[in-house]
């Protein structure tokens, strides 16, 4: 059962067991994931790496409860979510998860502040409170002076910081980042990485990062490597233990 307080560091926040995901049917049937099991520990940073098309994003979407697997199960805080309704999943995503995507997905016509407070708008937080919390987050990321700007008027690095601010605003337990630096030059990418790892370190936020970037993966506590829908390697970066061919 879910403890009321946040589970201690080291307990799995998300556990995936034998996940399989199939796209299409008949001729176009494609098995994107073929039995993937993994634990995401509370407070850790986990890198999911692999070649393009190997199924990294698919796995992340399943872990983030954006999609349902065809087989296998996902537990959040030890509870199977297979039976949970759309409402419960929506609440879980809204309250527990933050998202950073490869593209910024900022709404051009809205101000930076409005973009950042979108998760609070979805959650039904009152406008005054939204502004207060939005400004606080922007402040902490050094973007307070850009609050009133249109989101499109920012540089790439600033935009990604806004995206991170948006992922942070609901004070999530887990931030899912799909290629968070894919769109940025090396220097800016580095800044964004520092920001994410700083959050993990200072606030104990769990990071699940999908990346191509070897250096980014190396900074994570753990990494799993995917090929053809299977985990082919698990690396505990801290302990430098490599388990080759650790399928299932």
């Amino acid at each position: 059962m879910t403890p009321a307080a946040a589970p201690p560091r080291g307990a799995p926040v998300i556990r995936a067991v034998d996940l399989a995901k199939t796209y299409g049917s008949g001729e176009t049937r494609f098995d994107a994931l073929k039995g993937v099991s993994l634990d995401v520990q509370h407070g850790e940073s986990l890198a999911i790496v692999g070649r393009s098309g190997s199924g990294k994003s698919t796995l992340m979407h399943l872990l983030a409860l954006l999609d349902r697997p065809n087989a296998g199960r996902i537990e959040v805080d030890g509870e199977d979510v297979a039976g949970a309704g759309a409402r419960t999943l929506n609440r879980l995503r809204n309250e527990r998860f933050g998202f950073v995507f490869q593209q910024f997905f900022l709404t051009a016509q809205q101000s930076v502040l409005e973009n950042v407070t979108l998760p609070l708008l979805v959650a039904g937080v009152a406008p005054r409170e939204r502004t207060r919390r939005g400004m606080a987050v922007l402040e902490s990321l050094g973007l307070a002076d850009k609050a009133k700007n249109r989101a499109t008027d920012l540089s790439g690095g600033q935009k990604q910081r806004v995206v991170i601010a948006r992922a942070l605003i609901n004070e999530p337990d887990v931030i899912f980042a799909d290629e968070p630096t894919g769109n940025l030059d090396t220097a800016t990418g580095r800044q964004v990485e520092d920001l994410l790892f700083g959050l993990q370190r200072d606030r104990g936020i769990t990071l699940v990062v999908v990346t191509h970037d070897e250096e980014l993966a190396a900074r994570c506590d753990r990494r799993i490597t995917i090929a053809d829908g299977r985990i082919i390697a698990r690396t505990d970066a801290a302990a430098s233990v490599v388990t080759e061919g650790a399928a299932r």
């Binding site: 954006l66 759309a86 929506n90 995503r93 593209q103 997905f105 998760p119 959650a123």
Partner: protein
């Protein structure tokens, strides 16, 4: 998401692409404008007719005419010396056949009928304020032959007393000045002189008391005179030796209800009895009902055009919102990823449609009220000056609100398809690729 936030967000989204929203709302504007005007026209005219019915009808009179000929045998009808006469001139109230004294007797014999008075056409040459008025103090006067069947819309005084033996007249409003009275009240109780030509082509005069002053109306033009005065002049004008024939007779009913009130059943019974006697009975309401049916039909056709415009506009809304959904695919995906429910996404887009609907219909209705009021005022002082009491366009708040609500409902229905598409969007599909 809070409902208030859904509304504000939907409103802001509607105004995000201002030109597109404006153009879509414009097509609704046309529909709302037309529909508001046609319904107001219908309300205005029907209201007028209803008021006329109220002023005219006493509820206990039936107009009796010969039943329309049902003889469909070929060839000319055989002559019947005791039969009815044919009218020499067209008569708007009855058929070409005239009533004779037998018909009146038959009508009198019917239960519930108190008395029957034939409507007699009389012609008055002139009216003057006092008996010895010179030729230039005399004015032409039309006598309304049906003044005995109902009440008039009075400015002053009282209704005619049909059973009184006194000679009474109701003056039309515009005769008050001409006949030298200071105002309508002043005319009441005064004696006027009527001049007419009798059957022997002799000029005759008769004095009558003014009992009231009546407003001119659509259905009662000319001056009203009571039965005693009608009989006085009609007898003098009747050609001696010719059998009596009348276009219309008026049957005054005596009801079976409490205090002799005439019930609908009484009226129906008398009508049935009249039909057996080869006669037709119509109440004033029956006659005006026909007018109202025609008006309602015309308004219906006009409104149908407005509805066609609205249907065309609804496709515009569907199109606009589909574009809007398309443009915001990623935004929708993002909001759903962040936990927005399908229902709220649906609400967001269908409300955007409703906002567009409200915008178009409210502005359309307001414009219609503005333009319509101006037209109404202009018409009342010019072409419709002869019909006092007629408000050509009557904007009833309830109707205007109904028009706006109906258009908002149409807009909502148009928004259902795009909103459902948005609600069903798979967040991953929308987020996965550029």
């Amino acid at each position: 998401m809070r409902t208030a936030d859904v509304i504000t967000t939907a409103t802001r989204n509607a105004f995000r692409s201002r030109l597109r929203t404006t153009l879509t709302a414009l097509s609704l504007f046309v529909g709302a404008f037309t529909l508001t005007l046609t319904t107001a026209l219908g309300a205005g005219v029907n209201d007028y007719v209803t008021k006329q019915v109220e002023t005219l009808s006493t509820g206990d009179v039936l107009l009796v005419t010969p039943a329309a000929s049902t003889d469909t045998t070929d060839g000319p009808n055989e002559y019947d010396p005791d039969g009815r006469q044919q009218s020499g001139q067209a008569n708007p109230l009855g058929s070409g056949t005239l009533l004779n004294d037998d018909d009146l007797e038959a009508t009198r014999a019917i239960a519930c009928v108190d008395r029957v008075e034939p409507v007699r056409q009389i012609s008055v040459d002139w009216i003057a304020g006092d008996a010895d008025a010179a030729a230039d103090g005399r004015y032409e006067l039309d006598v309304n032959p049906t003044s005995s069947i109902g009440r008039s819309d009075l400015v002053a005084g009282a209704q005619l007393d049909q059973e009184s033996g006194d000679l009474q007249i109701l003056l039309p409003e515009d005769y008050v000045d001409a006949l030298g009275f200071s105002d309508a009240e002043d005319a009441v109780g005064a004696t006027v002189t009527l001049g007419y030509t009798d059957a022997a082509l002799e000029e005759q005069t008769v004095e009558a008391e003014v009992v009231g002053v009546a407003r001119t109306s659509l259905l009662a033009a000319g001056s009203g005179v009571n039965q005693a005065l009608t009989d006085e002049i009609a007898d003098a004008q009747a050609v001696p030796g010719q059998p009596n024939a009348y276009a219309v007779a008026v049957a005054y009913l005596e009801g079976s209800g409490a205090d002799g009130a005439v019930t609908a059943a009484d009226v129906d019974a008398v009508k049935a009895d009249l039909a057996d006697a080869d006669l037709a009975g119509q109440t004033v309401e029956d006659q005006l009902g026909v007018i109202q049916t025609v008006i309602t039909g015309i308004i219906g056709v006009l409104s149908a055009f407005a509805v066609v415009a609205l249907i065309a506009a609804s496709f515009g809304i569907v199109n606009t919102l589909l574009m809007s959904v398309q443009e915001r695919t990623r935004e929708i995906g993002l909001m759903k990823a962040m936990g927005m429910s399908n229902g709220r996404v649906f609400g967001l887009f269908s409300l955007e449609a409703v906002v567009i609907g409200l915008l178009g219909s409210a502005i359309g209705a307001l414009a219609a009220i503005g333009v319509g009021t101006a037209i109404s005022a202009g018409a009342a002082s010019t072409v419709l000056a002869d019909l006092p009491g007629l408000t050509l366009l009557l904007f009833e708040p309830a109707t205007v609100v109904t028009v706006i609500v109906v258009i908002m409902v149409i807009a909502f229905l148009s928004g259902v398809l795009p909103a459902r598409r948005a609600a069903r969007q798979d967040p991953i599909e929308s987020l996965r690729y550029e």
